[in-house]
Symmetry: D2
């Protein structure tokens, strides 16, 4: 069987929540550029030789649409990203037309502040957008991926733990029990779509929504795409444990420009991101260590982010040593190919009849659903084994 023939011939939808954001725009530009042959698959995990033979949808058969609450044309967003160094001018020229087609598939997202009526009707409208997108484009299935701005932590409610309670509350026009990301997940699942939570927002993680996914026999994955500092931590921490070196402190500072920086400048919002990072570190090291962590909004950095980590560790006979690293990258360029990979892999899992949390996609996430494995090498092995069996 050739690599070609293993590609699924079914057209598949990628529905992006936050479809006009930097990650979504870069994913759309990248897909169009891959299709046009003006860029290579660098950064796309599913194009590695190890995935030959896995039944994944081809780039040609992925159709992008999505929700957003802003209206800036994708072409303009792409121009901004080119100005910021994320894209080259020649790529931009090759995808302008294709971006207009994606633009035509973007619908108004849910915005709590401006919404009137109950959340149930909002969810119905969102679901209908996804269903009509699928129908209009002849799609076998749709993967919904949330790449919108990180939300503040979501205060717990009893309705989050019980699907029946939740559905009753959604019809109460006086209440808004779900944060926007979870309403998007609810709408996705109700539309028969799988769901990927690429941000640290609540999304599909509420128990009631996980019940819904199980009931509908739909797969989901998340959460919080692993693209920088945490990626390095899940690579480096196992080295210390394998060598019996005792990490004493692991301090980190993240400098972010772009929209993400602005959103996370709010300490309340940052909270959920910081907590998830700390949990992962303790899991990796097998114990709590001093681990101060900061996220700073530094607008002049634009689309780049820079992380500095300082690890203090102890070796034989109590010798004190240290490791520092500085990671400088374009957040969108790191995240976008993973979004495409996740669309392919989640669609394949859906097609294969898998449902519930896709634990083997832990490779992609800071806070993997369905998995306690944070070590990157083990996550890589698990992903490859799982994909080979698809």
């Amino acid at each position: 069987m050739t690599s070609k023939s293993s590609e699924s011939s079914e057209r598949t939808g990628l529905w992006l929540v936050g479809a006009r954001g930097s990650v979504a725009t870069t994913a759309a530009v990248g897909l169009l550029a891959l299709r046009a042959g003006v860029t290579g698959p660098t950064g796309c995990v599913t194009e590695l030789p190890a995935f030959t033979g896995v039944p994944l949808v081809s780039w040609d058969d992925i159709v992008i649409g999505g929700h957003d609450i802003v209206h800036c044309p994708l072409e303009k967003r792409a121009e901004q990203l080119a100005g910021a160094g994320v894209l080259g001018q020649s790529v931009l020229a090759a995808v302008r037309e294709g971006l207009a087609a994606v633009d035509a598939e973007i619908r108004d997202g849910y915005h709590q502040a401006t919404h009137t009526g109950d959340q149930a009707s909002a969810a119905s409208r969102l679901s209908e957008d996804i269903r009509s997108f699928a129908e209009r484009n002849g799609l076998a299935r749709v993967v919904v991926v949330n790449v919108s701005s990180t939300e503040p932590p979501c205060p717990p409610l009893p309705e989050h733990d019980d699907l029946d309670l939740l559905e009753a509350a959604l019809t109460d026009p006086a209440r808004a029990v779900l944060p926007a990301s979870s309403l998007a997940a609810y709408a996705a699942l109700r539309a028969g779509s799988s769901y990927v939570e690429f941000t640290p927002s609540a999304g599909v993680t509420l128990p009631a929504l996980r019940q819904l996914a199980e009931r509908e026999r739909l797969p989901y994955a998340g959460c919080d795409g692993k693209t920088g500092e945490t990626l390095l931590r899940t690579v480096l921490a196992p080295m210390f444990t394998a060598r019996a070196l005792k990490v004493r402190s692991w301090s980190g500072t993240n400098l972010l420009g772009g929209g993400d920086g602005e959103t996370l400048a709010d300490p309340v919002t940052a909270g959920s991101k910081l907590e998830s990072k700390a949990r992962g570190l303790a899991a990796l090291l097998g114990e709590q260590v001093t681990a101060p962590l900061h996220i700073d909004n530094v607008p002049d950095l634009g689309e780049t982010k820079t992380a500095w980590d300082h690890v203090s560790f102890e070796g034989f006979l109590g010798a004190r040593m240290s490791l520092q690293f500085t990671w400088t990258g374009y957040d969108s360029a790191l995240a976008a190919p993973l979004v495409l990979d996740l669309a392919r892999l989640t669609a394949a899992a859906h097609a294969a009849g898998q449902s519930g949390p896709l634990a083997e996609l832990a490779f992609f996430f800071k806070d993997p659903l369905g998995s306690d494995e944070h070590r990157f090498a083990e996550q890589t092995a698990a992903l490859l084994t799982w994909a080979a069996a698809l």
Copy 2:
């Protein structure tokens, strides 16, 4: 079965070539400190929970001896290391007596410049030192580990490839066909001992010596202990390949004080170390990349070494990004526990009847004998599987 009962009760020798060097002294101090209970096993891989049940010699049953060409008492060397921050004063106080006992087991090493007579007789003398050490101490077996200064690269000779030719040449008083490290390996194998090459010197790697090991049914391992920059490279490079990120250049600078810095200041000697590092990097990345690498002698750094690496890589849509790291550590504190681990594991392999290159010890080495696997996570898994089966 308790962890205790799995420990081998047979007394085992650890014979260090370069027994008065910083690594050897730290290993001796450390073993004595572990035995005295004044330090914990931080940095000792074989003390990790994963090794529970593996039949390893206990700290109490390891006896240290060795060869060296200098005569500075171990106690004085330990004081120097304490002054340099490698050891604490309280550890030093607890091991003084024990160091004197180790000192009494150190014999004059082979020094080509001052040696008279043929190399065969030199080898006989070295072998006899090891044999009488074993007898005097009632040892079941001895592991010889070379931790002496790195030699200049060894020019190839036909005798290196054929054991019969080699043994004939050794009896010629006009020739010195083996570098000191290989003479030490030859003597070790002739004494029925296993051999570990912890430096980048030729040691046991010459084909004729590997023939000897096979003939004598002895295990060996090497070479070049992986304790800093290369350790990190074998941890980080697989991350880039797993994420389909294209490394474009990987530049490195090593600042070394201590004896190692002085030895490696000689570009000819450094050559063998640099070559081995570059080989490993290309193997990890699957292709050659621009990889300038320097080793500088910076005496004021004393026992510490600092490595700075700069990795330039390309992501999706050609985005250019970078990773830098700085690693600062005590070379001896990093190497010494691995020497103890290697002694335990090699002795266990010997006891289990294994011979030839111990490929599963690749975890410990920059340039693993018998293995092409440079990825640290895979090396870790292989080591654990192998140890569990001992």
Copy 3:
């Protein structure tokens, strides 16, 4: 005139508030070690050739005493510092006797939580301690230097701005209008001593106390010793402005162990330090830039502190570039010689009849009193010119 003859023959007191802290202990050990000839004057600015001929008290003629609220013997504190790498064992051995003598000159400090009675009587007792120290030791004058833990920012009161109001309030047993540092400054000035504020605490900076210094014709200096990140900023920022390069952001993270880390972990206390740092940066760059700054308590770092700064700047034609630095040092080793320098220089100014803020000592401080000059090179030149005229 020889360098020798320019040394003042008058015995001078150095009274340390926080006399058992790390900085004070290191200063005491250092002075004794200099006197014993077991260490050189590295880090002592006043021993540079440029100070030859300036009438400064010799090391032999400085007597140390002080206040503290803890009772740990200095010798024990010095042992702790030796264990942490700040001092060598040989230095420690040479100064043990001298430390006992210093210990005998340390009195109980003022502690608001345990004090009973009005602050005026507390101040009288503190003053009397200083006066009797001077008398007992035959001192021509005493310089009081505050090196105690940083206090939380001091809420403003009308009494802080008016000496008469203040002195009235001090006699009210129901009130505690002065923070401990300012009470120490008040007591110092009332004892006829000059005062140096080496921390970011309020100390002598309250207007009422500055009035008192003027009235008593006493010199004072401060505040907040410049020993690390800020030192580098006052060196580097002028480079950017001199080269017309536009700094866009200057982000910083400070990792502190030791007592300082603990104290500054409290965000309220850190506030005063962070504000003073931000003020200085804006003054240096001539405008506000994005400048997130963190101080983290990382106990395992012990006596060391590590600062990482990331400067993003713009050059010709809008090119975006960056500078990062990491500074790793022993806070006490950096601060202690400056405390000795300040004692010498402030005593010389006092002897020369100077009073009020010693603006030319800006060289030593993050937030210089009496000066707007933050540029290190200009501060250096001003210090040398002033000292030469003493």
Copy 4:
């Protein structure tokens, strides 16, 4: 007097040796962009407020021409620089026409390998190019600036020390006694132009050429523009000396892409650059320190360069501490505005009747001619004082 009125109204030529290189192209683009008002003067020292009132030629009155041995159109070179991130697309669009005009003023440079005839006739041709440029454009004077590729170190000849001997040798068709940079300097001076050596090549530094400059009453300056690692060293080293901290080692690694990286990959060529850097460091610190220094060619870095320096220093009581920095910048963007500044300042000195080495321009150079002052702050002060007196 307004700032405007202080600008010289005389048209001035800037003749670039290596006129199609990255630095020259960026300088030309930048001048045109400044004139068109599409960029600001960031990076231009002479536009700082401190230069108000100094009689400098306005951007409008500078005309660029030059020599080069390659023929790639400037417009194409500018496009390459835009692709590499040095220039924005909008700047490029605004200067295309102007670049064509500069292109028309570029003449074939001297290339020893292809030149036939004696060097005297080559020099005459070069001089004539400069003279006719001046005449054609109605220029009051021309400043020649060498920004061509660094040459290998120039072996000393007796003719380099004596102008008469030199001029005799130049007429010998069998000899080529001057390297290209020095022939350019000779031609410049013979054409009545001042000369600035912006590279580490020999240029005007040969004694015979300095005699010529003195005889012709012409000013000159150099050498080796200070734009990165050395700039930082001349800023940071004085901090250590002012604080009496003892630098023990100062190690550096430079990663260069672009043409400069390629040229300096040749160890022989790098030699002159490394020597000049080491000289400066010793001058700054007042003594030799261990200072390993590397320049690596890393083509994928493109127009950027990255320098990492590690400084190990000793403080009070022998405490060992360290400073590391990483500088990442666009070499052309850093150098080009300095070339414009040097043209303005050298022309003003020429107009003011100054001749010989312009020591006050040390601010701009790694190896300043006529000055032993390497400290950046002192160089800044000297420059401003000198300029104010023009």
